[in-house]
């Protein structure tokens, strides 16, 4: 029976025999699956795009930060150059200022003395190695030199 069935492989016949007719449940499942795959794909592409954009933005900002830091350093340098004492002195002389030659101090009774700028800023560390090996070394003359001295003195008859 079945051996007598002739199967035509013409596209028209193949299409006719494919079971297109899906029940509604299967169709919904297929649609949901497709939607899920599309969503996942869309999410991946969106995220990848966002990451790429952010990454380039971070790179740009990092370069911008470097650039601003460099500009800041250049400005600090410029300020320091403008504040250089050799320049300040020239500018002061040009403006008619003169070096101070006659300083007079006045003492005000009861006014507390201002601390000197060179007062001890920090407590000194405890004294260590008050007599170290280096210092003590000179008190033990070289044995060989001592013997030579003794021989020299003996020869000299002392």
């Amino acid at each position: 029976m079945s051996s007598n069935v002739i199967v035509s492989l013409k596209p028209k016949n193949v299409i006719r025999h494919i079971p297109w007719q899906l029940n509604s449940r299967s169709a919904l499942g297929l649609v949901l699956l497709l939607a899920l795959v599309s969503l996942v794909g869309w999410l991946y592409v969106t995220q990848a795009s966002a990451v790429t954009t952010t990454s380039y933005r971070i790179d740009e900002m990092r370069m911008e930060l470097d650039h601003v830091n460099n500009q800041n350093a250049a400005l600090i340098m410029e300020i320091a150059q403008l504040e250089a004492l050799s320049r300040v002195e020239q500018r002061a002389l040009a403006l008619g200022f003169q070096p101070v030659n006659d300083i007079r101090y006045i003492s005000v009774d009861g006014y507390p003395a201002a601390p000197s700028s060179t007062d001890n800023a920090f407590p000194a560390a405890p004294i260590e190695n008050s007599v170290d090996a280096y210092v003590a070394d000179v008190e033990q003359p070289n044995w060989w030199l001592t013997q030579l001295d003794a021989v020299a003195e003996w020869i000299a008859g002392q």
């Binding site: 990848a48 990451v51 790429t52 952010t54 990454s55 380039y56 790179d59 650039h67 460099n70 500009q71 350093a73 250049a74 600090i76 340098m77 320091a80 150059q81 504040e83 250089a84 004492l85 050799s86 002195e89 101070v100 300083i103 101090y105 006045i106 003492s107 006014y111 507390p112 003395a113 201002a114 000197s116 700028s117 060179t118 007062d119 001890n120 800023a121 920090f122 407590p123 000194a124 560390a125 405890p126 004294i127 260590e128 190695n129 008050s130 007599v131 170290d132 280096y134 210092v135 003590a136 070394d137 000179v138 008190e139 033990q140 003359p141 070289n142 030199l145």
Partner: protein, 570 residues
Amino acid sequence: MQKSEPFGESAKYRIYTVVAVMSAVTLILVGQLVRWQVVEHHRFVAWAEEEHQDEIVIPPRRGDIRDRTGHLLATDLIEYEISASPKIISNPQATADQLADYLDLSRDELVALLSSGKPWVPLQKAVSQANGEAILRMDVVGLQVEPRSKRVYPEGDLAAHLLGFVNSNGNGFYGVEGYYDNRLKGKPGLQAGERSPFGELIPMGSSRFVPPVAGATLYLTIDRGVQFLIEQELEKAVRNYRAQGGSIVVLNPKTGAILGMAGFPDYNPNNFSESSEALFADPNVSEQYEPGSVFKILTMAAGLDSGKIGPMGTIYDGGSIEVGGRVIYNWDRQGHGTVDMTDVLAKSLNVGVAQVAVALGKEQFYTYIKRFGFGRLTEVDLANEGPGTLKTPKDASWHESDLGTNSFGQGIAVTPLQIAAAVGAVANGGLLMKPYVVERIVDAERDVQVKPTVVRQAISADTAQTLTDMLVEALDRADSEAQVPGYRMAGKTGTAQIPVPGGYHPTLTLASFAGFLPADDPQVLVLVIIDRPTTSKWGSKTAAPTFRRIAEQLVVMLNIPPDDVRLAMK
């Protein structure tokens, strides 16, 4: 019907042969695949990664150097190195037009370089930050714009010896730059990841970023006002006394903090490569000299501290004395009769201090000299420090006569900083302090305050006080030109002969003065050395007045009122 064989024997043989050959080839291919995929998997993975992965070392920013008030003395700026790949540049003429405004090359020179067809040509090594960034913004394919750090010193040659310099490789030499090179350098960062054929990082690929750690910022004990003052006065003194050079040390004897240190001639660290290499070393820490009569302070300190002499004790000065077979004379070749110890200092009598040294004996004398730190490094935090030269009885080259000559600073070589530190011990109640130049180190993790360090009690506090009083009195008796009106101060001149092969130079000297003030509460110590003055060879006529000019301004700068005002305030 007889079934015939589809293939003959010969055909079978050919088929078997083909099958065998193909099987062998397949086996070989499979074997190679196994080798590549399994056996040498790691090698090929590494190879592939090498092609795509890239690592860029990000250089750290070198730390700044600031003075005690925070003023900038050294910092890093960016400059650019520009090069080109002529084979990639599509329009050399247009590119040359663009670049000509920013480089020190003419348009024709640029066209010639960009049309040379070479794979790579350097255009300019050091391009300013503004110009380099302008070129970077042009975004020309085939141009390489590499940022590089450049060390700059906004005050020019101010404190050049003390600061040192940094070479083009980022290595510090001499001074603070050399000594603290590792602390200033910081730690390099790293940027690693997969790169596209255009050299850009692939954002979705594996990547790693380790930020660089900037070097520490150093705050020095130096006051740039003091530094500026002593450099100006030193230059004036060298010019006025027609000297070859000189050096000045200013320190706080109570802590050992160096407030200023100058050497002349000096150089500009911004352009160090244009200066003679001989100028790089700091004469105050690297060069040694025979100190001459300033050293009498220390011989006298040893004599007083040992009890061999007293401040009121007298000696007879017959004009000469023989020590170890060598006759020692006074500077004026005169005998001064019976003199007290203050007169020995006031008249700077070689015969007098030689008698003190003889009274001490060689072992005790050299023990004291060592207690003051001579013959070894002070361990100041500056690169290239020298220890000086001290011969002691332990050395084969030492001779008995050295005891006499060393007592007045001849036959012994010291660095100016050693002398300043030793005289500072007298000013500081006998405590020898370690000189230092960095008082604060600030990095990303810590803020370290450097504390003064006591080396040892070189002499007792009583001896130091007695000697200070003698030095004050000696300056009065000598009517020294070093004295600052209104201030009681202690000090001593020195005029040292300059050793030459076979003896000493007949006329040239090193003139010096070391002093501190106010004598009752020493706050500043100044050592002035004038190298080979020709208007007068004497320290009293060259170094002493230079000291006075400096001290007069220092007391204003450091807010040290005259004694009457200061003591009234107390």
